[in-house]
Symmetry: C2
Subunit: 354 residues, 2 copies
Amino acid sequence: MAARTVKLAVIPGDGIGPEVIAEGLKVLEAATAPHDLAIETTEYELGARLWHRTGETLPDSVAAELAAHEALFLGAVGDPTVPSGVLERGLLLRLRFDFDHYVNLRPVRLYPGVESPLAGVTPEDIDMLVVREGTEGPYAGAGGVLRKGTPHEIATQDSVNTRFGVERVVRYAFGKAAGRPRKKLTLVHKDNVLTFAGELWQRVVREVGAEYPQVSVDYCHVDAASMFFVNQPARFDVVVTDNLFGDIITDIGAAITGGIGLAASGNINPDNTFPSMFEPVHGSAPDIAGQGKADPTATVLSAAAMLDHLGVPEASRRIEAAVAADLKTRAQGGEPRSTSRIGDDLAARVAEQG
Amino acid sequence: MAARTVKLAVIPGDGIGPEVIAEGLKVLEAATAPHDLAIETTEYELGARLWHRTGETLPDSVAAELAAHEALFLGAVGDPTVPSGVLERGLLLRLRFDFDHYVNLRPVRLYPGVESPLAGVTPEDIDMLVVREGTEGPYAGAGGVLRKGTPHEIATQDSVNTRFGVERVVRYAFGKAAGRPRKKLTLVHKDNVLTFAGELWQRVVREVGAEYPQVSVDYCHVDAASMFFVNQPARFDVVVTDNLFGDIITDIGAAITGGIGLAASGNINPDNTFPSMFEPVHGSAPDIAGQGKADPTATVLSAAAMLDHLGVPEASRRIEAAVAADLKTRAQGGEPRSTSRIGDDLAARVAEQG
Ligand SMILES: CC(C)[C@H](C(=O)O)[C@@H](O)C(=O)O
Ligand SMILES: CC(C)[C@H](C(=O)O)[C@@H](O)C(=O)O
C-alpha cells in the first residue's frame, strides 16, 4: 500500500475534455508511481450532458463532495448546445469562486523545438509566469439589465476589487518573483482609465513591494502589455494582473508559445482551505472532439502543476522533462500522433526517468 | 482663395506629440493643395504644461472653441510628471465623450515591405478594420471606492452598455463590412463571463445583422480573438467590439503590423454633431521626445483618415499611397531618417502624385 493517497476529483467535461483528461491521468500515474503516492480518482459527470438531463450545472451535493478532495482535475466545459455562459458561470467559475482559487497560475514558456508564430524568438525570450487573480474583478458576475428589449436598455457589468483580494494575489506574485532568477514583477492594469481599481492595484503593489526590496517592479497598461507580449516578450518575468486582463494576456501567451494545445493552468487556493483545480487553458473544442486529434500536452502540464501543488515537485519536473523531450522530437518531424499516442509516449518517457 | 476652408483644431500635446503633428500637418497641406481646400489651423496648448500651470485639463471655454471646428488633430497626451489618468480622463477621454466619438476606427493593415513580428505573414493575411466603441463600456468612469486605505477597501469599476450606444456602433460596423470585399463582421466580446453586456451586444448584432444579409457574422471571445490576431489574423475582416476590448486588440493589431509607429485612428462622430478627432494610436513616448526619433507615419495616416471623414477621399488615397511607397523603400534599407525628414519625404511623394 502506498504511503500517501491523494483523493483526486476528475471532471472530464465536454468535447475534447474526456480525451485529454484520460492522457493526463495516464501520465500522472506514471509520474507518481515511484513516489509511494497513490492517486485515487473519482469521476464527476458535470457539463453539458448533466445540464441537458437535469438543468443543473453543479448540484450542491456534488460541490460538497468535490470539496472533500485534495485536488480537482478538469478537462474542459462548454458545448454549442448550451447557451454561452451557463456552464462557464455555473460550473467553472463557480468552482473557482466557491473554492477560493484566488491564484490562477499560468506559465508562459516557449519550449525548445516548438515553433512560435513570432519570428526569431528563442526559448530564452519567453519564460514568464502569469499570476492572474481568480476570484473577483469583472468576473464577479455583478451587474444587471434595465428596460431589456427597449430602445432605453442599459446593461452594466461591474468589476469588484477588494484590498483583501488584491493584496493576497499580489503577495503571492511577489513570492514567486523573489524565487526566480530575474526577480522582476510587472503589474498589468489600465490605471489611466479604470482609475478606481487601478489605483488600488498600484497602491497594493507599492506597499507589498516594500517587503520585497530584491524584486524590481514594473507597470504596463494592458494594451501596451498585449503589444509587448508580441514584440518584446523578453520584457516579462512574473506578471500579476486582474481576472479579465489575465484571461486575455494568457491567451496571447499561449499563442506566442505555440498555441493553446500547450498552455497549462492551475486554479490555486494557496491557503488550502479548499481543493485547488488544474485544467488546460483551452476549451472543449467541439469541432475536433472524439477524433483523437486533441493535443493532451496542456492537460499533462496541468497535471505537473498539480504535483507541484501537492508537494511532489520531483514528479512534476519529470513530467516537464518528458514534455520537453517530446516537443523536441516533434520539431524533428514525423507522423502526427493521436491524442492517446501522445499520452502513451509521455507516460513512457516519464516512466523511463523514474 | 480656396473654394472650401476647413477649420482644424490642432492639439499637439506632450512628448513626441508636437513633433509628429508638425509632420502630419505638412503632409495634410501637400495632400489638400490640389483640391482647392484650405486647412485653417488653430493650435491649442492642452496637456501636461497647461495642467502644471493652471491645474486644468480642458477649460470649458476651450472645449466650446474646439466644438466650433470641423475636426480635431491630436498628437499625444500624457507625461510622467502628471498622475496617471489625469490627462487621459480629463482631456482625451473627455473629448471622445463630450464630442460623442462613438466610433473609434482603427485599420489594422500590414503594408508591403513592413516587417511583422509574425513569421511568414504577408499583407494579404492582415487587412482588417477594427470598429471600437468610443463612448461607453468600462470607459464610462463609473465606479467608486469604499473604506479606502483600510483592510476592507473595495474599488469598483462599472461597464455601462446601452442599447442606443451599442446599436449605433454595430450599425456603423455592418455598413463598413458591407462595403468591403469579404463582407465579414466579427463581434469580439466575452459573453460567457460578462453575461449582461455580452447578451446585449450579441442580440444587437443579430438584430442589426438581419438588415445586412450579405454580411457574414462571426463571434469570438476576446481571449480567443487576441490569440487569433497572433496566429490566424486572416480570420478577421471588420471587427466590432467594446471600448476596452477594442483598446487591447488594436494594440495587438499595431504590434502585428509593425508597431505603434504606424497605427492610425479616428475618433469619429458619424452624425457630425461635433467635430471628429484624429490621432495616432501611440502615446507621448517621453523617452524619445525632442530627439527627432519618432515615426510620424501613424499621425500622417490619421490625417488620411481625417480627409476621408471630411469627404476628400482622393487626397486620403494619395497619402496612403505615399506611405505605402515610403514603407517599401524602408524595406530596401538605408539610413534611419529623422521625424521631420520622413515628413518631408512623405509630403514630397504626395505632391508628386498631385
Ligand atoms: C471558459 C472561460 C470562463 C475561462 C475564463 O474566462 O476564465 C477561460 O477562458 C479560461 O481562461 O480559463
Ligand atoms: C491613452 C488611453 C486613455 C487611450 C485609451 O485607452 O483609449 C489609448 O490607449 C488609446 O488606445 O487611444
